[in-house]
Amino acid sequence: MSRAQAQQLVALAAIWLVLLLAPYWMVPLGGYTALGTRVLVLGLAAMSVNFLLGFTGVLSFGHAAYFGLGAYGAGLSLKFLASSTPLSLASGMLLGGIIGALLGAIIVRRRGVYFAMVTIAFGQVFYYIAFQWSSLTGGDDGLRGFTRQPLHLGLADIDILSNANAFYYFVLLCFALAAAVMGYILRSPFGRTMIAIRENERRARFLGIPVERHIWIAFTLSCFFMGFAGALYALVNNFADPRGLHYSQSGDFVMMAVMGGMRSFWGPLLGAAVFVVIQDYISSVTVNWMSFVGMLFVGVVLLFPRGILGFVRRRAATQ
């Protein structure tokens, strides 16, 4: 095993150790387990955005739509279909993914800043739908009246509703599954092709790669992950919020990815952790939290465009 590989393995073990022990070190540090659960879910969402942004090189600024669709899908399934947690996760993922696949087919016709613009505009559609169709979605108040259900595992039931630690580990398991699938895709020949498109789209085209179709597949996959994360988020809150579909939420996801480091797999999770903690803190001390979040955006763009991990790596490389 080479040194770099060993280092990677150690880092990976450290990440999982930190995540596995989170309920035990977070509380003494003044956090609470639910905060850890939120970081995991939002981190997964940021990783899904980064699947497109960092590894395919196309910027979707409307991914909150698929996140929100996942949340509404899960909520509606729990409320009207059956009180089953796994089913709600599947419905949320399918709703986000299928709608993402349909819209993606239109969206991938544009590239660059116009891709970003079209994704923003299409994302807003669902915000308006959730807002207007209040008989189904609860409108401005959001979708209420559902709760996550205990898991029936044949031998034993696991109460993820009232036991915060049990729920954290359930979310961690879901997160681990999604991250494993994502990592597997990125290592496959398809994942390598995505990176080739990011590095040089024209050359990829010359090699005979159907660029549009690959970007569409990447977009669709990312929407499935996004829908899954959204469904988890609905379970976290027992509530689906129309503001979770708004483009400002998309901006937060992109920011998490950029802040953590777009070029790395784990960067967005780190970014989500930092972002959630900062936002949580600022909104508890000042009513002008919007200004501070805005300044955070400006500051990161001007001072740390490569994100935390990019910054650290660069320091390590120059020393």
Binding site: V113, M117, Y128, M295, L302
Partner: protein
């Protein structure tokens, strides 16, 4: 029924005129500098509030001229300090920066002027309806449309006949060549940004007279402006003009038959245009990137 339809079409045209003014500014900045200016709605709000603040001293007509100019000056400073360092980089960064800036502006106006809306009075001359039958056509609305028409005409004259305008258009097509010909591209981008922000400020002043002032008013107008640009065709200002009016009227007409869908129709229109003609109504083939 006819009157209701007429009422809504007029409404649509007027709101469409706003979209046009916003979208033209956005489009100018997008075409030359490849920057999606998320703070454009913020500049609209700044324009409106500056007009509100200076009207007691300079009157409505003075504010109409001075407020957009001051907004443009603020835009110039913002461009110089915050956006200029990002020109060489991925457009992602300017997008995130202006996104954060929009937050700061919205919160800042709320901090200075309070979260409640501010009523804005227009000169008595403009406040009366033109006729009793067509009660909805007030003098102010006619005035707004006239102002938009004049501004758009002036903008097109500027772009067509002045040296600055010709350089902006040339820069849109090929900035590198323009730079190689010895033109100061940095200055060109700054001036172009200022012109775009001026348009946002002007729409802010005009919107204040019609809708009143609120810190959040810019965000609502931003999305339709994006759609106007996409529908009209990126890179074409004439397309943006048409796109803005089109979605304004479309949402006006939809409001008669299915009020809940009056927002959604714009997105439907955009999806249809992208399906049939991905480059937009007036977009040129070469501008696909």
């Amino acid at each position: 029924m006819t009157q209701l339809l007429l009422f809504n079409v007029t409404n649509g045209l007027i709101i469409g005129a706003f979209y046009v003014l916003m979208a033209l500014g956005l489009s100018l900045i997008l075409n030359l500098s490849n920057v999606i200016n998320f703070a454009h709605g913020g500049f609209l709000v700044i324009g409106g509030y500056i007009a509100f603040a200076i009207t007691p001293y300079v009157g409505f007509w003075g504010a109409l001229l001075i407020a957009p100019l001051l907004t443009a000056c603020i835009g110039l400073i913002v461009e110089r300090i915050l956006i200029r360092p990002l020109y060489g980089r991925d457009p992602l960064y300017s997008l995130l920066l202006t996104f954060g800036l929009a937050f700061i502006i919205e919160d800042g106006t709320r901090f200075i002027w309070g979260p409640q809306g501010k009523p804005v009075s227009v000169p008595a001359l403009l406040a009366q309806p033109v006729s009793l039958d067509l009660f909805f056509i007030t003098g102010y609305r006619l005035f707004m449309v006239a102002m938009v028409a004049i501004t758009v005409t002036l903008l097109f004259v500027l772009l067509r006949y002045t040296r600055l305008g010709i350089r902006i258009r040339a820069g849109t097509l090929d900035l590198e060549t323009v730079a190689a010909l010895g033109i100061n591209v940095r200055l060109l981008r700054s001036l172009n940004f200022a012109v775009g922000v001026f348009l946002a400020g002007l729409s802010g002043v005009l919107a204040a007279g019609q809708l009143g002032l609120e810190p959040t008013m810019g965000t609502g107008l931003l999305m339709p402006s994006f759609i106007a640009i996409i529908v009209g065709g990126v890179g074409s200002l004439a397309g943006t003009l048409l796109g803005g009016l089109l979605i304004g009227v479309a949402s006006g007409i939809t409001a008669v038959f299915l009020p809940a869908a009056s927002e959604a129709i714009m997105y439907v229109l955009m999806a249809v245009v992208l399906l049939i003609r991905p480059r937009g109504l007036f977009g040129e083939e070469g501008m696909m990137t």
